[in-house]
Symmetry: C2
Subunit: 162 residues, 2 copies
DNA sequence: TTCTAATATCTTGACATCAAGATAAATATA
DNA sequence: TATATTTATCTTGATGTCAAGATATTAGAA
């Protein structure tokens, strides 16, 4: 009887006309995601980052050499608005982790480039981050984890069909 | 090949030493939850609410008669800080959907009570909300949905063990 | 060429949230 | 009783986010 079961039970008493089967799935998604975010946030905080700044640095790192993308590309990859990305980049520039480099071919645009300091930091953080994630899925057996991943993949495809 | 697969592939190229199996699960949780929140938010917006205000009204409604809880109880149920709850209540009071009623037995505390207007509103919204949630899980067969729910339940228990 | 449209990014103002601390009342202890 | 502690809620200041609009540049059409 977890927290979501309790909510479902209350609705069954108060509104027996409602079928809350879907609510159980959706509710558990929300709560699990909150726990995951909290746990991962602690790893980021150990290195002076948060989920937002980690996201930008990790996107640049995994894009490969020369570890540089335009703000527009970062916006697409991280699904935030332009204002949010400007703010994130400003902070990372202030921290010396990325640099805004002018694009000679298009004066409207910049390239956001990992500094050496930024590269070294993300290189270390991502290792810890992966360890944290592995610990988080330890509640499931390897077989269950595989099964869950397959179901998530199908579920996500429903939203991100192209 | 969904978005999460692409990220995993980039990491495999750039950092083949990292095992990103757990990252796939965690990443899909994040993306799915974002899609769920967006979709549900639209239903709330149709009634002038957002996820935060819906949450408070729904908590009061499903608590049963007399549809009233203290701020402290609402904080526990919704997992937000006291400042956030004060703000949410202020807005709902302004909108005439709840009322702050003084507690005679303990002058420190109030009871937050659904008004008739608030009751009528949440009564209608929750019906639409359940329909939205049902549509959201239609990407899975009933059997898959059951399977997923069981796995989520076990996963969540890992975080909310008591 | 000159005007218009599209593109790339930044700025502004508003909002929800949190952490930490303030206020006030109830309860426990001396 | 008087004082200290706990409890319940609100206030304040900072942060991250978004939507809408501003600015500047490039590309296309007349």
């Amino acid at each position: 009887m977890d927290h979501v079961d309790k909510i479902a039970k209350q609705w069954n008493t108060e509104r027996p006309d409602l079928d809350v089967g879907a609510m159980e799935i959706v509710g558990r998604f929300g709560r699990i995601t909150n726990h995951l975010r909290d746990a991962m946030g602690k790893t980021f905080a150990d290195y002076g980052l948060n989920g937002a700044s980690f996201d930008v640095l990790a996107t640049l790192r995994r894009s490969g050499q020369p570890y540089a993308l335009s703000p527009g590309e970062l916006i697409k990859a991280t699904m935030v608005t332009s204002g949010t990305m400007t703010n994130r980049i400003d902070q990372l520039v202030k921290a010396g982790l990325v640099a805004r480099v002018k694009n000679r071919e298009d004066a409207r645009s910049f390239v956001i480039s990992l500094t050496d300091k930024g590269f070294d930091l993300i290189e270390r953080v991502v290792g810890e981050h992966v360890k944290t994630q592995q610990k988080l899925v330890e509640g499931l057996t390897p077989d269950e984890a595989l099964q869950l991943n397959e179901l998530l993949k199908k579920f996500l495809a429903h939203f991100e069909a192209e």
